[in-house]
Amino acid sequence: MNGRDLVGALGPELLALLRTAGRIELEGFSLELDELEFRLPHGALAPAALVPPGAEAVPERPSDLLEAEYVPERTEYPGRIREVVLGATRREGGSRARALTVGGAEAPAFSLFDRPIVNRPVISMDVFDTRVPMPKALRAPFEEVRDDPAAWARLNVHQFGAKAITVHLLSTDPLIKNTSPRKAAATVEEVLQAVDVPLIIGGCGDPRKDADVFFEVAAMASGERLLLNSVTLEMATAKTLEKVARAAAEHGHNLLAFTGLELNDAKELNRRLYEYVPPEQIVMDLTTVALGYGLEYSFSIHERARQAALMGDAELQHPTISGSTNAWSAREAWMPMPPTYGGPERRGPLWEAETAIALLLAGVDIFMMSHPAAIGAMREALDVLTSWPLEEVAEGRANDWVTAAIGGET
């Protein structure tokens, strides 16, 4: 029998064996040949696999799994995010049914899950004190209450389960209705009486007018631990910052320090505020831009801020907030588009939810949101992500998608 015939006879068996064993040792076997040629399917075996035992540099194909355990390590961070309390109960000098604590993070959010979440992030639902242009899909759930902030707040709390309310006093804008501070404060008072959840009070963005409005609101709602949204470096330039900050300190309110995607500005503003209020009364708004319109800038600035804070930068150790309703400024959220893109009633809530959830992962603590469907999706995510210990999963189910019957037009 020549070599070629021998291999012709042995080859298939060898291959079959090797397929399952990965390696064969030939014992008590000798072979004298002039020429030995193996013809095996290309790539079926590494060339060295048939080298007799004892030869050097055989890349051994282990036939059993080489166990390599993963051992998680818990990372400790030198810094911690301060806790801020929103709203005050009667016992605490306010009139809210319960207060909400935000912040307190000791590690990057929703990443390694090696410790429980200290405080569940809060979703605050928007109320506007005047008719602002709003996409139809966004205003549809609130059509009945758009002219009555108190009724709007009640709807948000009783029907949509809001745990906090943001009253945007946009009518105070000198370019809109220029509503007086006294009248704006009266609106806040009505909302305080209509609902018993903590309130965030939004201004119009004019550094002088906002200061007058917040000054009035702070005194009227003394002790309610409002979050005044917002104070800015523009107020410092306009010399109105001190007035607001002192009013907040005197009446026990929190301040929202708003800056535009620039951490040095955020730190500078916080330093100015430390002169008037305890750091435990400061929340940061680093700016939320809609998905598709620069959300990645917001995402990365929050990741950077949180990382720096946990590494010890005390001037950034404040909870953060996101105006996720901004998602609706993206035209993909509200514009008519070809049929495959569905209507805004489907696209819009998804857009708002995606904008919020990206920032949730970046560590944001408070979300100002609007659409009930987007809020529902965020709540479901929060339920899952904040439960501790983590809910059990059925490992076997993870790959069901590989073989599942997935029907329907998708």
Binding site: P133, L261, Y293, S300, V393, V402, I406
Partner: protein, 473 residues
């Protein structure tokens, strides 16, 4: 052992290993400039022809090791339609930048009738959305063996090979099924899903036989993933992708934790066994208890968004309707822009239509998306006008106003340097609605009358009809 992060590699170290001939063949003025661009990962080693000569073999090897990403770059698909997965240097994008955008693979399965399959493949291949002047597209097709029947799988794979050029992912837990599928698409280098604790030997042989990259799957079991990669590396298989399991609903926290652990281990701890691209399967939203397809697609899109933010290098998706695909493609595009460079267009004057001496003058920000949106709206409304693009540091109008990158002084400067004053006889400037609060100061700073335009540039058409030409001041 922690490996050195990318930002710790210096151009000098790289320069020392280059030929140092300053030949300029790479297009750079000298080797030091090339070294700097290498460290920034803006060019690859292959751009240096002398380095590829035999006498530089050891330097090339050292450089490759020095510059290799801690998450391996794995290529799938055949040459001209190849996609690279992974190749990541950092955990968070702001630390450097992300490379190789997450591959979006759309699923088909072997229960589809041929016409349905061909139709779906066409929809996948043709999907396109223009965003900031770029076409966002779907990248790959994932064929699932839903029947478990090798013949059905072969037939579907054959149809795909004949009608669709996109890279392929072949999915079945059964190595025999996967083999007939792989053999039906010769030369396509499909990504094979997946080797697990029970079938890995057969899957390893298949990967070697077909020279294809292989997914290893161990749901919620990182020790399993490490054991599989360790073993398969011993078999000489390096083109691996990790599937730590995608759980939607109550398991989402596990999913995020496992993805985060893999990526942190690979990059921060230098764990080579987890240094491979990550596969996420938001399609799992369709394989659970929820039956409403709209709800499934909504959940899938949210899961995809989460996994894009949490390091997935390839996603398997089912929903093919624009409303659920679009946010995924846009977020993917956004996350993979280079945070070191704003997505900006050049500041300066643009002319649209055939503007004359009474045409409107508009101003906007130089964020690319802002600019392209305004541009397309001006064109759609057929407005002849001048558009002054102000340098807002690549920020949108809204963020630039908030951050004071778009100010009255900035508008005045942009207007002045544009020279538009010499092209028109009027002195009326239209500013974006989102910059309304600058109107007073802008009028003062420019000496022009200021009109506040619409908040969204889609309103420019009606705005111009109503407000232009403006009445006497």
């Amino acid at each position: 052992m922690a490996r050195r992060s990318i930002t710790e590699t210096s151009p000098i170290e790289v320069y020392r290993l280059l030929p140092r001939t300053n030949c300029g063949e790479c297009g750079e003025p000298n080797c030091m400039a090339f070294a700097t661009r290498l460290v920034n990962r803006e060019v690859s080693l292959e751009s240096c022809p002398p380095l590829l000569l035999p006498e530089h073999d050891s330097d090339l090897a050292d450089l490759s090791a020095l510059l290799a990403p801690p998450v391996r770059a794995v290529r799938i698909g055949q040459a001209e339609r190849e996609i690279t997965l992974g190749g990541k240097y950092v955990v968070q994008r702001h630390e450097f930048t992300y490379h190789n955008p997450t591959c979006c693979a759309l699923a088909v399965d072997d229960t589809l009738a041929r016409e349905e399959l061909v139709q779906r493949l066409r929809t996948i291949s043709e999907f396109s959305y223009n965003y900031i002047g770029r076409d966002l597209r779907l990248d790959a097709v994932a064929l699932r063996s839903a029947t478990g029947d090798p013949d059905q799988f072969r037939e579907a794979a054959t149809t795909i090979a004949a009608t669709c050029k996109l890279p392929l992912v072949l999915c079945s837990p059964d190595p025999d099924v996967l083999r007939v599928g792989a053999e039906a698409v010769p030369g396509r280098r499909p990504l094979l899903h997946a080797a697990d604790r029970t079938n890995w030997r057969e899957m390893a042989l298949l990967a070697l036989d077909t020279d294809s990259p292989l997914v290893v799957s161990a749901p919620d079991d990182l020790s399993g993933l490490r054991s599989l990669t360790k073993t398969l590396r011993a078999w000489g298989i390096e083109d691996l992708v990790l599937d730590p399991g995608t759980f939607v609903g109550p398991g989402l926290a596990h999913t995020i934790r496992n993805f985060s652990r893999c990526r942190n281990a690979a990059i921060r701890d230098g764990d080579e066994l987890l240094g491979y691209p990550l596969l996420g399967a938001p399609i799992a939203a369709f394989a659970g208890e929820e039956l409403d397809p709209v709800r499934c697609a909504f959940d899938e899109a949210l899961t995809a968004s989460v996994l894009l933010s949490r390091y997935a290098d390839i996603l398997i998706l089912q929903g093919l309707e624009g409303w659920s695909v679009l946010p995924t493609l846009i977020w993917r595009f956004n996350l993979y822009t280079d945070p070191r460079k704003p997505v900006a267009v050049e500041a300066g004057l643009r002319e649209f239509g055939s503007p004359d001496r009474v045409s409107p003058v508009l101003v906007t920000a130089n964020y690319a998306l802002t600019y392209f949106t305004v541009e397309s709206d001006i064109k759609a409304a057929n407005i002849s006008c001048y558009l002054v693009v102000a340098d807002t540091g690549g920020l949108s109008v809204e963020s630039a106003v908030a951050g004071r990158y778009f100010s009255a002084a900035g508008i005045a400067e942009a207007l002045e340097s544009s020279g538009v004053a010499e092209k028109v006889d009027h002195r009326v400037l239209v500013i974006p609605g989102l910059a309304a609060r600058l109107s007073g100061e802008a009028a003062e700073a420019t000496g022009w009358k200021v009109l506040v335009g619409p908040k969204d540039s889609s309103g420019l058409g009606p705005f111009m009809k109503e407000r232009w030409p403006p009445g006497p001041a």
